[in-house]
Every structure is written in C-alpha cells, then in structure tokens.
Symmetry: C2
Subunit: 521 residues, 2 copies
C-alpha cells in the first residue's frame, strides 16, 4: 500500500504523520504550547417546523433512521462505549449500512471492544474504511497487522470532545445507544435493563453531529429525566428489543486485586498521598476501576478515617468503593465520568451528590479550564514507563496496539499524577529506556509506584521535599528499571515493526504525539 | 432623527423594518414558513493553557473583569432577568463601563425592569446605544417617546435563544448574576441570599458569548452543584457584597386574585379543559404566576382530584400552587422555566421531579423540536386580543410599549392556547378590531376566556365539537367585543403615533412580526 503521508519530527523527537487520511495534522509541540485559533464548529440550524409537534420522533428501525438521516458513502458514524463489551447497537448499525449498500464509512467510536470484532468483516468488505477511536483487542490486532485501509486515530476522552468541538472530526450521523429514552429523544443511562450509569461519552456527538439517532430498548413517556442526552439535539428515536448485554455492560461487583505485589503498590500509593500531605481536608483524587485502583481506594479510605480527613470530591469511574466513601461521608461529591459496577449506577441514581460529568466538563483541553487540573492526585496504570517518566498505555513492547487511551492523558493534568505499575509483567520489564508508544509526556507524570520502590520525577522538587521523613522506599527510576531488567534477563526485545504508520496518537490538544507502526509477522 | 431603515409589508400586512440598527431583518412569513439556512454560530476555541490550573477565576471586581474581557466601544453586553426587579448587577455593569469610558454599547438583557431606570442616564450619555430585550416600565416609556438612539428589539425567551444560537445577536461579553458560584464559574440559582431558582435565561449567553463573567455574592468551594451554568464556559468570577434584593427577586408567596371577575375567568378556563376532555390522565399544561393563573391552577387541581386525573407534567414559572400539585402527586413532573416564589425555589431544590428547564429545551424554535409543542394547554394573558384572535402583550392601546414578550409567543405552540382576559380594563376594551401591536398570530390562539363568555377560534373545529354539551357560555368573539364597547362607551381611542419605529417585535423564528411606533405627546 502506497504511503499517503509524510513524517515530521514533533517536539519529543518522534516521527509523526503530517496528514492523516488526507487531512492535515499538527505535530505535538509540548504541553500547553499549541494555541488553537478560529471558532468552534457548529451543526446546521434546525427548525421545529421540520419536527413533529407531539415530540414523537420514533421511526421503525435502525435502517430507516439511517436512511432518513441521509447516510451516504464516506460519512462519519459515531457511537459511544458506555456499554463496553456488551454493546449490541454498533454491529447492528454497520450491518444496516452494509444492507443499504454504503461504503467507506469512518467509524468514530469513543472506544471499541472485542464485541465489535464483526466490524472486521465490514473493514474487509469496504463498508467501513477505518476506525477512529480506541481499538481494544481484535480490532487493534487487525490494525496493527496493517490490514485496515485507513490510518487509525486514537484520542483521549477529552481529546475526542476537543476534536469534535473544534471541527477536526465532523460527525455526520451520531447513533446513541440509550438505556432509557422518551419519544422526543431525551435519554439517560440510569434506568432500564441496559443501565450503564451515564452517557457523557456521547455528549459531543449529540451537540455537534448533523444528525442524531437515539436507540433504546426502554422507551418511556416524555419526559425522560434526567436528560443526560437532550432530545432537542435528537432527530430520530429507534426502539430495539435489546441494545446490550447487561452482564457485559456493567460488572456485578468490581474486585480488589489479590496479588500481594499489587496490594503493596496500592498501599504505597495511598501512603504516598498521606505522607506527602496531599491527603488533607478538602482534597480530591481520581482512581480507576482496576484491581490495584480499588485496593488503593480501600487503603486511602482507611488512612482518611484514621486522620479524620474528608475529601471535597473524588472522581470516578465509580465503583462500590467510591460509592461507599460517599455514603460514609468521606467525600462530599463523586464527580463521575463512567460507572463500572451496579453499586456505582445505583449510587448515581439515588445519591444527589453522585454527579455525572462529561468529557466537556472534565477533560476538554480546548475549554475555559477543565476539572482535571483541579484534581489533587490521579492514580493511573500504564503498559510502559520510561526513565524520563514518559508513559505508554496503548501498545505493548512488541508494538501491538491493544488498548485505548481513555481518560488517561487527561488525568495527567492532576496536581500529582501517580502511575502504579509492576516493574515487569510476564517476565517483560514495564520500566524501559524509552516507551514504545509515547502516550503521555514525562513532564506530567510525577510519581511511579512499583512493588520495588517509588520513583519521583526529579522535576517535582516539591514532592521530593514533602515526602522526606516518610518510610516509603523512594528510589531513582533507573535503579528500578535495572532491577527489572536483571530479574527478566534483560531489556524487552525489539519489536518487529514495518515502516507503515497504522495509527496516530493524538495529544489532548489535537496534535500528534506519536505514531504506531505496523507489526510484521 | 433620520430614518435608517425601510419598511416592508410582512405576511400579516404589517409594515416592518427590513434593517434594524444597520443589520438586515427578515419580515414575518407565517407560522413555520421561514426556513433557516446555514450553521449555528460558535464562540472562539479556548485552551486550558490560558486558564488557571487550580480553577480559580476570581478577579478583583466587575471593572477589572470587564477590562480583562476586552470591553470596547460598540460591544454587546448581555444580562439575565432572573432577579427581576431586584437586580443590583446590571446597573453596576454600566456604571463600570461608564467609568472605563466606553460608548455605544448594546445592552442585551433577557428582560429589563423598573429597577434598571438608571440605565436611562447611560442611554442619554451614549454609554448605551440601545436595548435589545423587553423594556418593562420606565425604559419602555423612554423608548416609546422616541428618546432611545437605536431601535429596540423585543424577543420571546425562545426567540432570544434562537437569535443567539443563530448568530443574529453576537454577545461579546455575558455577565451572569449567580446566587451561588464556585471560583471555576459553576453557578446556580438555588442557594444563597439572592436565590432565584434557576438561571436558564443565561444559558445561551454562557454557551455562545465570547467572554463570560459570573458575578456572585455567595462563593462556595468547587464544585458548585448543580451547575446550571457550567464553569467550563466562564472566563472570570467576580464577588460582590450583594447582587440583588431578595424581596424583589422573589415574592414570599404568590397570591390568588380576589377579583370576582377574574376568579370567574379562571374557573371557566379550568372547566374548559375539563369539559373539552383535555384534562385527562397523562395530560400537561402551563400557567403563569399572575393572580388569574394561580386561581386557574387551584380550580383545575380541584377538578383533577374530583376526576382522579393526574398530569404527566406541568410547566412553570413555578409557584407554591404548582409545587403543591407535585407534592400531592397531581403531576409527575414540574418542568420549570423560572421560579416565582420561595416555595417554588424550595421545591426545585428539594424535589427530584421539579426540573429546571431552559429556553433551549422548552422554547427554541430553531431546535430539533421544543417542549412547548408537547404541552396540551397553555393559559396566558394579553393586553389586547382582536376579532381574528391575534394577541398583543407588549403595548397598550395608547401605543405605549410597557411589557416584554416573555415566553408568551413560545407557549402559543401548545395544543390548546387559552387567553384569559377581561373584556375591558380601566374602561378601555381589551377585545378590539385589530391589536395595536401584533405579538402572536391568531392561528395559534385557540380560546379566549372572558368574564362574559368564551370565544373559540373557528379554525379549531375539534375544540368546538369537544366542548358541545358543556354548560360553559361559548360565544362569538365579535359579540364579546361589542359588549365590551357598549360598556366602555365605544372602541379604544386611536393612539397618537409618530411614523418612527422605536422597536421591532420579533417572531420566534427571528422574523419581524410587527413594529412599534413612537408615541407623540
């Protein structure tokens, strides 16, 4: 396949494409260096004269809705990933598109999952040209092996909002799977069999797409409230028998890790916040839903109780652990971007201070501020961290693109960003000389907590000073890296990469921070 | 003063200006006839790099904020009217502007009140060029007498949202008075000394203005939730000692009329809904906060209890009467556009089904539908109604422009729009041959309820049929009009008008439905 792009060195020295699928791309210039110009994008002006007075926008089926929305070759169709690996809607969309006979669609999901493997057939047949969005599992593998026609583009949750808002990605048709909706198109994720909590990842799509289709399996009388998605943005409503598999949408419960190493990492991360004085009355933190994160929340809660300290807010992905903090009064608010378990959904439904947020409020770097910078500490994972504190979350050291960025880049803007990682996995070091794919620049990563000690970014002299006197094992990151190499018998092997760029990694401001290359067999 | 506009006949035969203050204006073409083209407007793309990481946007005072926002000659400054006649912020803005020394500002309030009489000095001195927005009381009189330099423009709540969204009015600086806010600019009207309930009239301003300033007298820690105004739209936050007079912002209680005539009108309007079969399980209605409306709600509640009927939703302006309906279970929801009394605020704060709405959700005619068309019945007032069922709400029969449009035009889109009016006021007939100022076209006005009988628009054959068998006095509107003329000793006197157009009346789609002329002494 002929290359249709040129490469240019960005501010980190990485070679990145200057055109992506025929559109101009700006190389990464450094944190806060790229200044956008111009105005936000905007959808066409509508008129109520074209919509039914009784507010009933229900049409017969998804195919009808796509036809009414004017689906055509080359259009961009967006979906959200609040249903994670239990989504039934996306495959139905592209099956319908195939039946209609359109080609070269751009699928713009907020993320894709293994359940979307059937899209591979549509990529092969030409119904879908390429995917812009996280490609977890089989789709990532398909792309990594150079089989996708177009170039993939990975963005953070905030970067996706920014790209839509700025007009970098024009959505022709947004399809929003909604656990509950009314005929007007007001929708939420709180109720119904497919309840997923909230629908924030589809917010930009509703606001900026030319046409918006809501698909639900739980249609209720107007008004569907809360209207996390506002019907005033919606063109058509489709009722399907089942829009998702509840068990794969949400886990019954989220589980704390049982690994002694990970428990140790979680405990040290919590202790770091305590000993560095970050855990103080009115503070805030963000932690995810992985087993280590849950253990971290559990340890931190204990420290908070001991010290009689209360947080002003915690940020989810919410789990039963955060919900219990709220119930117990350990935090005034949960500001939640997605719910991970049943207790999280119940809490969001029932507790007035369990607040649904969106990539607009929390993560949009091209806004007038964002919540992410106000968070005192964020606890995150990574697939690799290098000696300059650069982080990778999208690929493995063999070069395979197997994970999405999620909110990871966005949360790096917290006051103290902590990566909790084992020094190695499957006898492959996680601490490396240089990350395979640069997803987050080291200047935003402050602390790396491993089972063998804690490394603090030398730029954060304030943290180094604050942690003095703690019994935590503070060590240089190079030492930790070398220890990992000793255990594993050397550095990770060099990946077998081709020259072709199969995906671009965007930074939060829309610039290209790195490129992912084809993995050769 | 030389005329800087031409006049053209619109679809109703009224002569309207085709330019307003130098900008092109489209004559009214009929309900649903004007189709907008193009895209919504959009503000400049911002970047978090320009905003403080700690989210603290507080600046010293209003003057500093205006200067930082880049206030310049000829700019448009917007305010909201949720504080009604108790607003302290607007006068402070234009006093500060005068001190800064800028001229020819366009003041774009969602409405102005007698408390804004000091703006007259700024209109005289040239700080303010003209007002676009309702001009209640002294400002209306000032404009009516031809003393305002520019032409006034009156819009409905929905029309104001439409005008901002469509780019018809570009707001340079929005100033949003907020009863509670955090340093990031998240704000609501629910808490604090100046609590006004909600802030929906400022929503478009926050979304579309180039710069947004939040002014509060009750600054709380982030997050201020609910964020009726989202801090992500806000540039600066200013703290003032007192932003309003609580007693004039909100009334302690709203009172039912004691006038026997008005009680009769209210009772007949309620009975009309019952007897015409509109009052049925799952129905909806909207009524305002005037004494007649309150009495209507009271009567209707009784009929609903008797018939064991429950509404799906009622639309406010909310009062204790609506709040009690919700508490009693006579309605599932209140979808509220503004709160009129303390009980209304408390209900919105405490009751999960007392929902704050905005001109975007409820009234924006250039949206993908609006709530207004889904309301089964709306009960409204008017200053005049003519024999073709046309309505006037902005001027008196002497031609004086003394009232705003409010949501009146927007609510005309309900399934059954009922004007409750006495046949005469102060011995001047309200029922006339032709309204002085056309504010709403007769085709949208279905029923006129007076103390002397009920007139049904002959176009609504369905209603005429439905009401058969009721003991209500259904009469031709001409008969009612003639009776009023008999009692008053003739038709209203001809107003003494000059030729100059002092204000344009916009329809909900941005076209000009009528022009208001100068009143000569």
């Amino acid at each position: 396949m002929a290359k249709d792009y040129k490469l240019e060195e960005n501010a980190t020295g990485r070679l990145v494409p200057t055109t992506i699928n025929g559109e101009k791309a700006v190389p990464y210039q450094g944190v806060g260096k790229y200044k956008p110009t111009g105005k936000k994008t905007a959808p066409p002006i509508a008129t109520c004269a074209d919509y039914p007075d009784d507010g009933n926008k229900v049409v017969g089926n998804l195919k009808t809705a796509l036809l009414k929305a004017g689906i055509k070759d080359g259009m961009t169709i967006s979906t959200h990933h609040h249903f994670r690996n239990g989504d039934f809607v996306t495959n139905a969309i592209f099956d319908a598109a195939a039946k209609i006979g359109v080609k070269d669609l751009r699928w713009f999901p907020s993320a894709s999952f293994p359940c979307h493997a059937p899209i591979i057939e549509h990529l092969k047949s030409g119904v879908v040209h390429h995917i812009e969005g996280s490609m977890n599992g089989p789709l990532g593998e398909f792309a990594s092996k150079g089989k996708m026609k177009g170039m993939g583009v990975l963005r953070s949750h905030g970067g996706r909002y920014q790209a839509v808002q700025d007009g970098e990605v024009h959505i022709d048709i947004a399809v929003i799977a909604a656990p509950t909706a009314d005929p007007f198109g007001n929708a939420n994720g709180l109720y119904g069999e497919s309840a997923c909590g909230l629908l924030g990842f589809a917010l930009a799509d509703s606001q900026y797409a030319d046409r918006v289709i809501v698909v639900t399996d739980h249609l209720i009388d107007f008004p569907c409230y809360p209207w996390q998605i506002q019907g005033n943005y919606v063109d058509y409503v489709v009722v399907m028998d089942k829009i998702g598999d509840p068990e794969k949408i949400i886990s019954g419960t989220t589980r704390i890790t049982r690994s002694p190493d990970r428990l140790l990492i979680a405990r040290m991360a919590a202790q770091f916040l305590r000993d560095a004085g970050i855990m103080r009355d009115g503070f805030s933190f963000q932690a995810g839903a992985g087993g280590t994160s849950l253990a971290f929340v559990d340890y931190l809660s204990r420290f908070m109780r001991e010290a009689n300290v209360k947080a002003r807010f915690v940020r989810g992905g919410s789990t039963e652990f955060l919900a219990e903090m709220l119930e117990e009064g350990l935090t005034d608010y949960i500001l939640d971007g997605q719910t991970f378990d049943l207790k999280g959904i119940e809490s969001m439904r029932e507790h007035p201070n369990h607040v649904d947020t969106s990539p607009f409020t929390s993560y949009n770097y091209h806004g007038k501020g964002m919540f992410a910078t106000m968070v005192d500490a964020a606890i995150l994972g990574a697939t690799e961290v290098d000696v300059n504190f650069n982080g990778n979350v999208v690929s493995h050291s063999d070069g395979m693109l197997l994970h999405g960025i999620g909110g990871w880049q966005n949360t790096l803007f917290s006051g103290c960003t902590i990566l909790t990682v084992p020094t190695f996995r499957n006898r492959i070091p996680i601490l490396v000389d240089e990350v395979t794919t640069l997803t987050g620049p080291g200047e935003l990563i402050d602390v790396v907590v491993t089972e063998r000690g804690i490394a603090i970014n030398p730029e954060r002299k304030d943290l180094i000073k604050a942690i003095k006197g703690s019994d935590l094992p503070i060590r240089p990151i190079t030492e930790l890296k070398e220890e990992a190499e000793e255990i594993c018998g050397g550095k990770p092997g060099k990946p077998n990469l081709g020259s072709r760029v199969i995906a671009a990694i965007k930074w939060v401001d829309g610039t290209v921070i790195d490129a992912v290359r084809q993995v050769l067999d």
